[in-house]
């Protein structure tokens, strides 16, 4: 048998993951055919590479269909209920850094903290007759964050892409999104609140707590961790 390592199947996240493992003596490569989502592992025994969409890796880890997986902390926390009981972070890989933040129009010079956002939301609702809209795709994380911050009179509206544009298009008053440099926010006349972000995310190697181990798998995992220096 073997243990399954899930890695993002394309783009910079895949390349950087390959580089990170490669630098530690574990060679990961995608199979010859670009269309086939399979790969090869060299340098350690008993490890299979599974290429998956980064968004599916949390679910596959939780279900125990892969033993290890590389994905963003943001996705794990958004998609898994009581995430820490389902997966264990083994290593932060030092790339894919991004913060999940709440941003409001830069012209809201009266809003800088969650306290301000709450007060502005109350006045907005009284003035416009509906709850202030915050566009995001991270519903659970943002809701928990705003509840802990004591913000009321808001509503989350779903936005799966181009979230920063929703304010200009008048489909939201504020946004909660992942940002790395903040450039897109500035281009859309938005600013980040001066609070701790909802979440600081980066690419992380997770271990599934649910995946079954066949005889020999435990040794393979131990050997892999030793090679990676974990």
């Amino acid at each position: 048998m073997s243990i399954k390592l899930g890695v993002p199947s394309k783009g910079r996240l895949m390349e950087k993951t390959f580089d990170w493992f490669g630098a530690r003596g574990v060679g990961l490569s995608r199979s010859e055919s670009e269309r086939e989502y399979a790969g090869a592992v060299t340098g350690v025994e008993g490890v299979d590479l599974v290429l998956l969409s980064a968004g599916e890796i949390p679910r596959e880890l939780a279900a125990g269909r892969i033993h290890l997986g590389v994905t963003g902390t943001d996705l794990v926390r958004e998609k898994l209920v009581q995430w820490d009981q389902q997966v264990e972070p083994l290593a932060e890989l030092g790339f894919g850094q991004a913060d999940l933040i709440v941003a409001v129009p830069a012209c809201w010079i009266d809003v800088d903290t969650l306290d301000d956002l709450d007060a502005a939301a109350a006045a907005f609702r009284a003035r416009h007759g509906f709850r202030m809209r915050i566009a995001t795709k991270y519903h659970r994380l943002v809701r928990d964050y705003l509840r802990a911050g004591g913000v009321a009179d808001y509503q989350l509206v779903d936005s799966q892409g181009a979230t920063e544009g929703t304010v200009k298009n008048l489909t939201a008053e504020a946004v909660a999104d992942i940002t790395s440099t903040g450039e897109t926010l500035r281009a859309n006349h938005l600013k980040v609140l001066s609070e701790e972000p909802v979440l600081r995310s980066q690419a992380t190697l997770f271990r599934s707590r649910a995946a079954k181990m066949a005889p020999g798998d435990r040794e393979a995992l131990k050997a892999l961790c030793a090679t990676l220096g974990l």
């Binding site: 209920v81 009581q82 129009p105 830069a106 012209c107 809201w108 010079i109 009266d110 800088d112 903290t113 306290d115 301000d116 709450d118 007060a119 502005a120 109350a122 006045a123 907005f124 003035r127 416009h128 709850r131 202030m132 519903h139 659970r140 809701r143 928990d144 705003l146 509840r147 004591g150 009321a152 009179d153 808001y154 509503q155 989350l156 304010v167 200009k168 008048l170 939201a172 008053e173 859309n188 006349h189 938005l190 001066s194």
Partner: protein, 360 residues
């Protein structure tokens, strides 16, 4: 969970029959409720506690997280007055933080819509629950959201600050944060200090985007200036709120204690008198108020729509279980749903599944 759905349902029907025999009209409510009504009432947080689903023609719908809203709506649309209702059925709760808790269970309710003496009606409802639940030897706790509300109403502060405190009266942490800021315990954030120090701040606001207009920003800055000019809330006022919130003893002693506090906070007097009349009515209904617990902060977190008398029945030998029964007065909720119409209401629910667990 050792309790079968059939057993839970049978117990729910039995309790409903007891309430019906006492004169309550049995009601049935749809499981699917329009999400918008509930979201407007409870805010976005309800999504973490209720199942929301999509209907192609009706939009967002919610599996009923409780019966309160549909019962109030049915009463408003075609109810006679006064009215007493009972119902039994399943409610659905997402348990994101506590997957071990049940996400589907029965509730049996008894609700009274009556413009008569609130003290008598509060006592009637409580006594009814006490009687029905007597065989289980539960501990009853009571409270009164009206007391804290009256304390806030009696504070020597601006109406703006009072409104902000009232708005967060059901969110203890936020309420506390506001008190800390008004009293100067929490320093003014640097960004706000800078904003207030800059009379030309608005001219530098830059491109205006979004629905919230420059006038709204200006209005809030004006409000912040007024707030800064008001000065800190006196420490003794904060202490009064803390003293009220910390009242936690039997009804008899709590009443004495609150009478004492009302000497320094005269605004509290009407609420304390209401509490006193309720105690008398409870005693009249056969409740031993000298043994009945009272907690001024009871019902502040999870029972957002109660605004007067509140109560709960707890199984002390099973601290892992949620309250077996909860209830209270929810005039404000009715006012909200009725578009300002006054419909005084008091009632409560029992979880028959928990009763069976206690018997098992």
């Amino acid at each position: 969970m050792g309790v079968s759905i059939a057993a839970e349902k049978a117990e729910a029907e039995r309790l409903k029959a007891v309430f019906a025999e006492a004169g309550a009209l049995p009601l049935d409510c749809p499981v699917l409720q329009p999400a918008e009504t509930l979201l407007d009432l409870y805010g976005e947080d309800i999504r973490a506690r209720a199942y929301v689903t999509q209907d192609p023609s009706r939009g967002e719908v919610m599996l009923r997280p409780d019966f309160t809203v549909p019962v109030v709506q049915m009463h408003m649309s075609d109810g006679a007055e006064p009215a007493r209702y009972t119902y039994a059925g399943e409610v659905f709760r997402r348990q994101e933080q506590h997957p071990e808790r049940r996400s589907e269970y029965f509730q049996v309710g008894y609700e009274v819509f009556d413009r008569g003496d609130p003290a008598l009606l509060d006592a009637e409802v409580f006594a009814r629950f006490a009687q029905v639940l007597a065989p289980w030897g539960l501990r009853a706790v009571t409270g009164d959201m009206g007391i804290l509300a009256a304390a806030v109403a009696g504070l020597q502060i601006s109406e703006r600050r009072r409104a902000a405190l009232m708005r967060h009266i059901w969110r203890p942490r936020r309420f506390r944060a506001l008190l800390d800021r008004y009293s100067g315990k929490t320093p003014v954030p640097p960004s706000r200090a800078a904003l207030l120090a800059d009379p030309q701040a608005l001219d530098r606001a830059g491109v205006s985007v979004g629905l919230r207009s420059e006038a709204e920003v200006a209005a809030r800055i004006a409000a912040l200036r007024a707030d800064a000019a008001e000065g800190p809330l006196c420490r003794s006022q904060v202490d009064l709120i803390d003293t009220v919130l910390s009242v936690r003893e039997t009804c008899t002693y709590a009443l004495e204690h609150l009478h004492d506090i009302a000497v320094d906070l005269p605004g509290l007097v009407p609420a304390v008198e209401r509490f006193e009349r309720r105690c008398a009515a409870l005693a009249e209904a056969g409740i031993d108020v000298a043994q009945l617990d009272f907690e001024a902060s009871f019902g502040r977190t999870s029972m957002e729509y109660y605004d007067g008398f509140v109560f709960g029945f707890l199984a002390d030998r099973r601290p892992d279980l949620p309250p077996v029964a909860t209830g209270g007065r929810y005039d404000a909720l009715c006012r909200h749903l009725g578009g300002g119409r006054e419909i005084p209401a008091v009632g409560g629910v029992i979880r028959p599944g928990l009763l069976l667990e206690l018997t098992a």
